[in-house]
């Protein structure tokens, strides 16, 4: 076989990212993404997203002209540069390239794009903290959230994972501003705030929040207000799914997060967390057993509430509440008319009373819960 070398290929000029990529040529260099100020690096992207959403919202709410469509098209297609080491060029119409670049800036960044009802793009750019011990990963900061981005339950958001599957993530980013108002956190750094949110997520919300609760919380927020019911659900889930011994060992600073002026005011959780250190081992071990019984009771009470029949629709036929709820799950805001029905109001009162009773029974373990 004759092998004759042909002309040498010309290598492109190296970029600042190549040194990071090459690794082998500079073994003493950093092998992980360089530490950047993410907000500075992403400022041009955030600005572009704001400009895009401004025009989009006008078109969606007030209408417009073809010139505005043209302006939107330019905002999507035109390239712009980020303030990263490579001054990389991206555009909103190449979301895959944009995600690759974000991955280089930080492995914790996630960009999700969803269609709005008008079939236009809406964006969520967030930072995620992985919790390898729990079922969900934690969204600790929303760097950008488009108005109208579809989030049905504020506690959860669906993000595409590295394995190509969409999964629910717990949205603790909504609590970020509350954490920064806590005493001692007014001048806290981003890392300290992340740390508290991670602890809250890992020790409390991983157990207290679950995607199975979405129906109950949807009913509580859109049909009739059911605050005690929601509190009872979170308390029961934490008692059943959480490791109270481990929680007891990591209580520092968590209790005040659930106080009335805290990050997430929740009296049931506040009482539980405050009283945990005083419980004996036997009382702690008794918690899940009691919670299992009380969970059955509360589920039954909720089922009775959903079976309540109300006159519905143009023909005023009696329809059970569960059918109305399931059949209109994508337009829950239109169900507020149900609050006027006395049958439903009565059923809600009974459910609330049962929830309060369940909470009291669970928290009367020991004498320290008051």
């Amino acid at each position: 076989m004759n092998v004759s070398p042909t002309s040498k290929s010309v290598k492109p000029q190296p970029t600042p990212w190549d040194e990071w990529d090459a690794g082998c040529d500079s073994y003493g260099g950093e092998m992980h993404p360089p530490l950047l100020d993410i907000h500075t690096a992403l400022a041009p992207l955030l600005k572009r997203l704001e400009e895009y959403d401004k025009v989009r919202l006008v078109l969606e709410k007030e209408g417009g002209s073809l010139a505005m469509l043209d302006s939107l098209k330019q905002l999507l297609s035109e390239s712009f540069r980020l303030d990263d080491p490579g001054r990389s060029e991206v555009s909103l119409s190449s979301p895959q390239e944009l995600r690759r670049l974000l991955s280089r800036i930080s492995w914790t960044l996630r960009l999700e794009i969803r269609r709005t009802r008008s079939c236009m793009a809406s964006y969520l750019l967030c930072r995620v903290s992985e919790d390898y011990w729990g079922e969900y990963s934690l969204v600790v900061e929303d760097l950008y959230l488009s108005p109208g981005y579809p989030i049905q339950d504020e506690r959860f958001v669906r993000l595409m994972t590295y394995s190509g599957k969409e999964a629910y993530h717990i949205r603790l980013s909504q609590l970020r501003s509350g954490v920064m108002k806590l005493s001692g956190y007014e001048k806290a750094s981003s890392v300290e705030v992340d740390s508290l949110l991670h602890r809250l997520g890992r020790h409390v919300f991983q157990a207290a929040w679950h995607e199975d609760q979405r129906l109950a919380f949807a009913a509580a927020s859109h049909l009739v207000p059911l605050p005690s019911f929601c509190n009872a659900i979170e308390l029961l889930y934490l008692s059943l799914g959480g490791d109270l011994c481990e929680l007891r060992a990591h209580l520092g600073g968590l209790a005040e997060c659930f106080a009335p002026v805290g990050v997430y005011p929740q009296p049931a959780l506040h009482r539980l967390i405050t009283g945990l250190p005083g419980l004996t081992g036997a009382e702690l071990a008794d918690f899940p057993k009691r919670a299992t019984e009380l969970y059955g009771r509360l589920s039954k009470a909720f089922a009775m509430f959903l079976q309540c029949q109300v006159p519905w629709g143009l023909c005023n036929h009696p329809v059970p509440v569960w059918k109305i709820l399931y059949g209109n799950f994508s337009r829950l805001s239109a169900l507020e008319e149900l609050r006027q029905y006395p049958e439903l109001v009565d059923a809600a009162s009974e459910l609330e009373a049962e929830a309060i009773a369940v909470t009291e029974e669970l928290l009367t373990v020991g004498t320290l819960f008051g």
Partner: protein, 551 residues
Amino acid sequence: MEAVQNRIFLAYLSSKVYSHRDAVEAYRIFAASQVELCATSIKETIDAAVIFGDLFPAIDNLQLHPVVASLLRRLVTATGRFSAALEGLPEEDYLILGREWVLENCRSIIEVLEELKESQVAEELKDEASFFQKIEDNMRIPEGSRIATAICLAPLAGPLAPTLRSEYDNTGLYLNCAISKELPEEARQTLNEFAEAMNAAVSQKKSWQDTRSDVLELQMRTTPFESGPLSGTPIDGHDVQVKLGEDTTGKGAVFDSPLELVDDPQAHARLIEEARPLTQALRRLLYPHFKSEPYLERFRASGSLDPARLALGDFSEAVYRHYPVLEQMNHRGGALLVLACDGSASLDIDQISMLRLLTTAWLMSTVGSDVKVIAGIYHSDHLQGLYQPPPVVHWLFHPRKTPAIGQQDAVRALLSLDQGSGAQSDALQLMFILDEAVQVARGRKIYLVVLSDTNWNNSFHNSNLSGQQEVEAFFKDAYSRLGSRLNVTLVALAPNEQETGFEKKIDTVVSIPANEFDDPEAVARKIGVYVASQIRSGGSSRSEHHERSRS
């Protein structure tokens, strides 16, 4: 009529066929929640009113276009009466009820039309075409109000007038904005360009990812009672065939998925540092890609006859010039390096650790070069929905199937690999990996590196061959298909015997005994010898090897 028919059919299934289960009613309720009334067509509005009308809230609370609201109000009222009558109705009365229902709906639609247009329409309706033409006439933008020069768009999220047809394509709602046929070409172009840019920004292109939830919702919304994208077998493997002999072919199914990347920068840096001696040794390896080009060779006569005058004489072109094929290095496209790693439970911790180091080293050695890489770990794994763990290939790096943005990033997928699991089906899974490689390589040379403990497993229950014989058959089949385009290296990690049995059957065998695992320098020297042998031979697949294997 179709809507009424479907509604009656659903009631029949609920009450008579599946009366002990609420599945049909539950699905109807779910489908009702998916209906989008703010941007819809006439047909969808009628379907929604007839099939789901009993579940909708008060029309005034829905913020609908006046035409949609008016149509819904009338149709839902009719639906309520007929749905109540449907309960407990004998089957033989379905047709009578259905006919009355359809007529009532037609009357409702005509009332709506009469609200839009002053003149009576009923006598002029002869067929469906003229019926819809009447609707379109009433939808047309009045003269002088929104004409081409100052085209205004209604609020896109607001309630829109219903269209005549359901046309959900990638542009979705934009068709609602451009119903008028009087739009000038420039306006249409603007709309099309906008739709293309928006489509590029919002649609999902990755084929290895699950369908995004909002994309799935849109698909299911338009086809509520047809088989959806989730129907059928949720887990489909890839059918693979391996020629085991003259008349025997082994068949099997292999599943694949990407391996998740680990977010641990320190562990990532540690693994790359640990593999550095091996990476340095491998970086000197060349993976040349050759291209075959015919060139013109002129016949040069020797002796006293002047060869330059031959062209003036009478000659035969077959003698005067011919076109031999020259194989030369092609710098315009790199070769494809394929790493197939045995991740089965037969590998102990030390073997897995060495496998991780070698895979890391091979990945890192190609960073910054033109060489393309695909790398995967093959074994068996539990998959949801399957009782027995099937053969699975977990991709570490694949241009179309993994999220890693480069070879260095792909090393993150190795961080969680601390032990082998499952059982491998060597021949079957190697054939699958090679088939993937052929698709990615697109004619380029393929360097297949198999990292294994050489405890070969049977892949096919119906074959009488041993695991090793099946793998031999695979290599033979691969060489016969790909010829000089394939170069195979087997890296045997602590093999049971001194010779693996493949020394004369494939291009290279590198054997790493167990006592060298703790000495990366020794392994690096061995790799260096292997590298040198590759360079001496030009990196080309030795034709004598496959000649031998063929014989």
